[in-house]
């Protein structure tokens, strides 16, 4: 409980530091949100050309796009400490200092830096979601909105889990591993399209190994009021965002195992 208050203070300090130049910050955020929409322009071009993808319309795919980008954005903003863990904490030996403090290491790393500029992805996703919701006639009931929020929260937890696993690996490799980008950025890329367009082994990977489909495809199909062509029962779609939290819990267990293997580089 005390931990949560401490975390908010970490956040507040980081936000205040970045808000020293509010005008410049806002300009950076807006220009970045505009610039990073290149990806969405690409999807637009493909839909303009082909019309649909295996029966999915542009507006429907835009909802998949928005949900996964909003989730990932929140993780990117908050979990920066894990992202840069290898080069900035293990290699430099700075992790020793975190271990000395009477607080858990995940808490300290989460509070390390709150990168507000990465919020651009969220802004962009939110705009896409609002516009797309209009076109797909999204059902605005409490149940649907709750599921939407749960889906985004589950996605945040899942991406945080991936970043924690990536950080754990650097206990052994010291360097940070670019390969983890396949699951973070690559995960976003894959989840921007509905799961049923992919081949079987790739679908299974996204369901059972890294359960991105549980915080994207399954609940979003339910939110859109569509029938799942893969045959998942409706109740499963509603509870599947929980898989994100389960993944995070497992990642934290692995993290604790990793810490026991930690040997300071001594620098």
């Amino acid at each position: 409980m005390n931990g949560i208050r401490l975390y908010w203070r970490f956040l507040a300090a980081s936000v205040r530091a970045q808000m020293q130049f509010p005008g410049s910050f806002l300009m950076l955020l807006i220009s970045q949100a505009l610039a990073s929409s290149a990806e969405f322009v690409g999807i637009w071009a493909l839909f303009r050309h082909f019309g649909q993808i295996k029966g999915w319309t542009f507006a429907e795919v835009a909802v998949f796009y928005a949900v996964i980008n909003m989730s990932f954005s929140i993780t990117e903003v908050t979990a920066r400490g894990f992202d840069i863990f290898g080069p900035q904490f293990v290699k430099t030996g700075n992790f020793d200092r975190l271990l000395l403090r009477p607080r858990s290491t995940p808490l300290q790393l989460l509070g390390h830096e709150c990168r507000l500029t990465r919020f651009d992805r969220f802004v962009q996703g939110a705009v896409v979601l609002v516009v797309a919701a209009h076109f797909v006639h999204l059902d605005l009931s409490i149940a649907t909105l709750t599921l939407l929020l749960a889906t985004i929260a589950g996605g945040v937890a899942l991406f945080a889990g991936i970043m924690i696993l990536q950080a754990t690996l650097s206990f052994w490799t010291i360097e940070s591993l670019e390969v983890a980008n396949t699951l973070t950025y690559g995960g976003v890329e894959a989840s921007q399209y509905p799961l049923d367009i992919y081949v079987r082994w790739f679908r299974q990977f996204l369901i059972f190994v890294v359960p991105l489909a549980c915080v994207g495809y399954f609940p979003v199909v339910r939110i859109l009021g569509r029938h799942d062509s893969l045959g998942a029962p409706a109740w499963l779609s509603s509870v599947s965002p929980l898989m994100g939290f389960l993944f995070l819990a497992v990642a934290l267990r692995v993290w604790r195992m990793g810490i026991r293997h930690y040997r300071s580089t001594g620098s």
Partner: protein, 278 residues
């Protein structure tokens, strides 16, 4: 004769030194390679799904699109996304002022470094990617997802010429970014701008022929098309005969134009250079 050979030798040494230095980052190359394979697989599957329901004749056939996607992954490191990090660092520390003291043309000195930086990061990854998509995938029986060879030796030869020119073009674009970094004393804005522009306009995000028809002549004529679109379409035979030659000629025009613009800019920038640091 010696007057020309002297500086040329210097530029060649600059190129060689930087090339060997960059080759040391083997682990980064392997990690990047795995990431790009994964990325390519996702893209190929997405295109397969788009083509699935399409009945009309496409501006790029499915095998041609697959080749385009894989070439884009193989030559990803060619893209001038940021300024040269060494130059950015010089600008930050103020050491950029030393560059004025060297008895060489600063533009071509930096250009040689840029070419080495681009090609040394590109060559190992491209080699690994070719082995994966042109040899391993067909051996695994996944040939339709892999990279088919060019339709003719002529296309292959034109493609090789196109890629050499693409490196020269990329270096010229990179120099413009470098100069912007020197003027603004920050790499943030220029990188943001360059990354998005190059990604969209080169075709590595979505092949340019899939953009709406009214944009296509503009997309073909702008300089970034030479970074990916033109050589990749020559490879798959989508751009053949006179059009392929026209594409290469266009690239040549852009290379010369961008270098000329860059040199002019360099003179102006360097004559009123602002230096920070101490």
């Amino acid at each position: 004769m010696a007057a020309i050979a002297g500086p040329l030798r210097s530029y060649r040494s600059v190129f060689a030194a930087r090339f060997m230095l960059m080759l040391q980052y083997r682990a980064a190359a392997v990690a990047g390679f795995v990431t790009q394979c994964w990325w390519g697989i996702i893209k190929v599957m997405v295109f397969a799904a788009f083509f699935h329901g399409a009945t009309a004749r496409q501006p790029l056939s499915f095998p041609q699109t697959v080749a385009y996607v894989w070439l884009g992954q193989a030559f990803l490191m060619l893209m001038p996304w940021w300024g040269d990090p060494e130059i950015t660092e010089m600008v930050r520390s103020g050491n950029v002022s030393y560059e004025r003291l060297r008895p060489l043309d600063t533009y071509f000195f930096w250009y040689a470094r840029a070419l080495a930086w681009i090609s040394a990061r590109m060559v190992p990854r491209a080699a690994m990617m070719f082995a994966f998509v042109a040899l391993l995938l067909p051996l695994l029986g996944l040939g339709q997802w892999g990279l088919a060879p060019p339709p003719s030796p002529r296309a292959a030869a034109l493609f090789v010429a196109g890629m050499v020119m693409a490196v020269l073009l990329s270096g010229a674009v990179l120099m413009l970014i470098n100069l912007l970094v020197v003027v603004l004393i920050s790499d943030r804005g220029p990188s943001l701008l360059a990354t998005q522009t190059v990604t969209l306009l080169s075709g590595i995000l979505v092949p340019l022929p899939f953009f709406p028809g009214w944009m296509r002549s503009f997309l073909f004529l702008q300089p970034c098309a030479g970074l990916a679109d033109i050589p990749f379409r020559i490879y798959s035979g989508n751009l053949a005969g006179g059009l392929a030659l026209a594409g290469l000629l266009l690239m040549l025009v852009w290379i010369i134009a961008l270098i000329a613009i860059g040199r002019r800019l360099m003179e102006r920038v360097m004559s009123r250079l602002e230096v920070q640091g101490g």
